[in-house]
């Protein structure tokens, strides 16, 4: 996957990963992909909700070692 920008939200708690993600995605052009790494377990559900509301699909996600990685395509 062609990742345009990476965002490190490790150590941040609700709602910072969402706020930072929104800010980062605003700078991208349509179709570009943002990779977000977070450690907040709550961000899994929250990122889904944010994605549904804003129309920026999560095209892939994985987790391991207490980290959650999201690949978000700007819609």
């Amino acid at each position: 996957m062609n990742v345009k920008e990476e965002l490190d939200c490790r150590g941040m708690n609700c709602p910072l990963p969402i706020l930072k993600t929104k800010k980062a995605i605003d700078h991208l052009a349509q179709g570009e992909v943002l990779k977000v790494t977070a450690t907040d377990p709550g961000s899994c559900n929250d990122m889904d909700a944010w994605s549904r509301r804003t129309g920026n699909p999560i095209v892939d996600k994985n987790e391991g070692n207490g980290e959650y990685v999201f690949f978000i395509k700007k819609g």
Partner: protein, 169 residues
């Protein structure tokens, strides 16, 4: 994309713990492309002051867990029951509890209140100060941050009637 939703909140309390809900929900709603208005009234009005120093008091919040933000994990997990005698009589106990709570928030990666308020301003959250409260508590407009509006109950209700969600905090 879903149709744009509108959120309206009335923030009526100004302590550190109650400063979080309007600013967390406001900034997050803006990040979800919602249109957000917050009406700050009574003690909530102090959240719009330039000099933003919200405190928290355990005497008003008897269910508050009393835990330490430092030391090994087992130590941080301990609860320190505080008799009212101490909570109400030890000088500066509220300042101590406020400092502990701020430290805990910081350790857990939670944004500070000034940080969240800045994000709300930047994201275009509409903030309205209650004119009546300002007069009652003797504040003047230059005590408050820039970019806010001053209005009363009718304005709050009009915005509420046009919103999808209305929260009273």
């Amino acid at each position: 994309m879903a149709t744009q939703k509108k959120l309206m909140m009335i923030a009526s309390r100004g302590s550190l713990d109650w400063a979080y809900p309007p600013f967390i929900l406001g900034s997050t709603a803006a990040a979800l492309d919602m249109e957000v208005s917050i009406f700050f009234t009574f003690y909530g009005l102090t959240l719009l002051l330039k000099d933003l120093k919200p405190k928290v008091t355990p005497s008003g919040n008897p269910a508050m867990p009393m835990k330490m933000p430092f030391g090994p994990k087992w130590f941080q997990g301990l609860n320190w029951p505080m008799p009212n005698m101490i909570i109400n009589n030890v000088p500066f106990f509220d300042s101590f509890v406020t400092a502990m709570m701020k430290k805990t928030f910081k350790n857990k990666g939670v944004a500070s209140i000034p940080e969240l308020r800045d994000i709300c301003v930047e994201a275009g959250v509409k903030m309205i100060a209650c004119q009546m409260t300002m007069d009652v508590f003797g504040f003047s407009k230059h005590d408050f941050i820039d970019g806010i509006e001053f209005a009363g109950a009718a304005t709050a209700l009009e915005i509420g009637s046009e919103s999808d969600m209305q929260f009273f905090l």
